[in-house]
Symmetry: C2
DNA sequence: AAGGTGTATTCCACGATACGGAACGACTTT
DNA sequence: AAAGTCGTTCCGTATCGTGGAATACACCTT
């Protein structure tokens, strides 16, 4: 069996289906989506609900249970990276007045692990747990710059560089050049490459031996982030990034 | 089988074990804790990691995967309650300058669903996904006040009222009286009943037909929350609670 | 270098266990 | 009243998960 234990794999698919729907689903709806007989779904769902991963609302619908929230949050709390970065994140948010994010690479995407939101009315919003492409975000490009050459090559081969705004980098050659550039500059910009009107600055966070573990980024509207302001933030972030890296056991740089 | 599908139940137990440890665990350690042969744990773990619920670090240890964070966050975002309450929560946090929480009852405990943290250095901190007893928190007592009489009776029978501070209510009779009191007063206090130095005010959020769905609370240090200040906050919160309840479809009150 | 431990992982024959069609009861809809 | 939902329960079958044994690797100690 390719995916290991059948019943477990099916149950996880059910969880994903429940997560993908913004309301609760009935058994038959779940069964339809995961392509299983109702009796099988029912059996799996009742096991899931015994353990609190799923809750059964009165009106015959199943929803994700509180357990998944609990586990997700525990995971974040437990994460060494998150614990270390949190106070810096708050500092960066406070000093810049913009939203700040902690981002890691997961399965070829940028994954938002933690955030501090700007207090301003107009602010960049991103959920924790949100995913975004690597090639068009400042954090993503930082993470790409930590890829080894063959890793980057593989990434470029299996990723379509879709145009999201008129500034999105859509050619592999240009992206390769950008990554080169970022590598010796030490920080990355996103100049409305992902979403119109939003700019972003990111720096790498490195662990021992200098491997890139994550990216720290600041995002805000172009109206507040002029080129000059971005340079300022880049300088500030670079310093913070080095401090964090040192705390994470990085002796280089 | 009491707990339904065996393999799934075992896998969920493995997830819980991984969540309960703040570092990654090796296969043999996992096997020891869930009392399963290593080969079985291995099979389940590899299925879990195929679906991203578990990640395998290089050095032979398994950790919860990003999927659980993603799902947990999706759950919160999707939740109707959370979406409705969020803006009010920010408002309450801003107006009072203290931490504000959205809390629901889950399995006889208070479950923290969302929060806004105080900007002050000294502030009440609680994680999203955190659990606390019902009997000694303002939110918890609000949630108890929404229990039907037989539900409350059952709760009192199966819960030990452990003394956490010198103000903790530890007799069933006193708690029953407190709940009665809260029911017609419409808000609850926690006067250092749970943690020394911390006070709290909570109001109920009701859905259609007036059933208590959740509690909205404000927590801060006793030094800033004088009795007079608490009364003020209680008045303010009561109004906000009614607004939210109306939005949640509550026509009563 | 040999012998010990501790890991993680793969294999396989056995039989427990999960499977899914069918049947049920309680609903709406036609 | 009939035909469609829906969720849930039952049960005989064979599939699928099981766990011990074997393997492989890394690390100690002797």
């Amino acid at each position: 069996m390719a995916n290991g234990v059948q019943s477990l794999d099916r149950a996880l698919r059910i969880l994903e289906v429940l997560a993908s729907s913004d309301r609760g689903l009935g058994i038959s709806e779940v069964s339809r989506r995961v392509k299983l007989p109702a009796s099988t779904s029912h059996r799996l769902l009742s096991t899931l609900s015994h353990r609190g991963f799923v809750t059964q609302l009165g009106d015959e619908t199943y929803q994700l249970g509180h357990k998944v929230v609990e586990m997700g949050q525990t995971y974040l709390e437990a994460s060494q990276l998150c614990r270390t970065v949190r106070p810096f994140l708050e500092n960066v948010g406070g000093r810049t007045g913009e939203s700040a994010f902690l981002v890691v690479a997961d399965r070829g995407e940028a994954f938002y692990v933690d955030k501090v939101e700007s207090p301003r009315m107009l602010r960049v919003f991103s959920r924790i747990g949100h995913r975004a492409p690597l090639y068009c975000t400042a954090s993503g490009k930082i993470l790409l710059s930590g890829y080894a050459d063959d890793q980057l090559k593989r990434y470029l081969k299996q990723t379509r560089l879709i145009r999201l705004t008129r500034n999105t980098i859509t050619s592999a050659a240009a992206l390769r050049a950008e990554v080169q550039n970022i590598r010796h500059r030490g920080y990355a910009y996103d100049l409305e490459e992902c979403e119109g009107g939003a700019r972003c600055i990111a720096v790498p966070l490195c662990g021992f031996n200098g491997r890139v573990l994550a990216a720290l980024s600041v995002s805000g509207p172009s109206s507040r982030l002029s080129r000059k302001k971005m340079e300022e933030v880049a300088g500030f972030l670079t310093g913070v990034g080095k401090q964090i890296s040192a705390q994470l056991g990085c002796s280089i740089a």
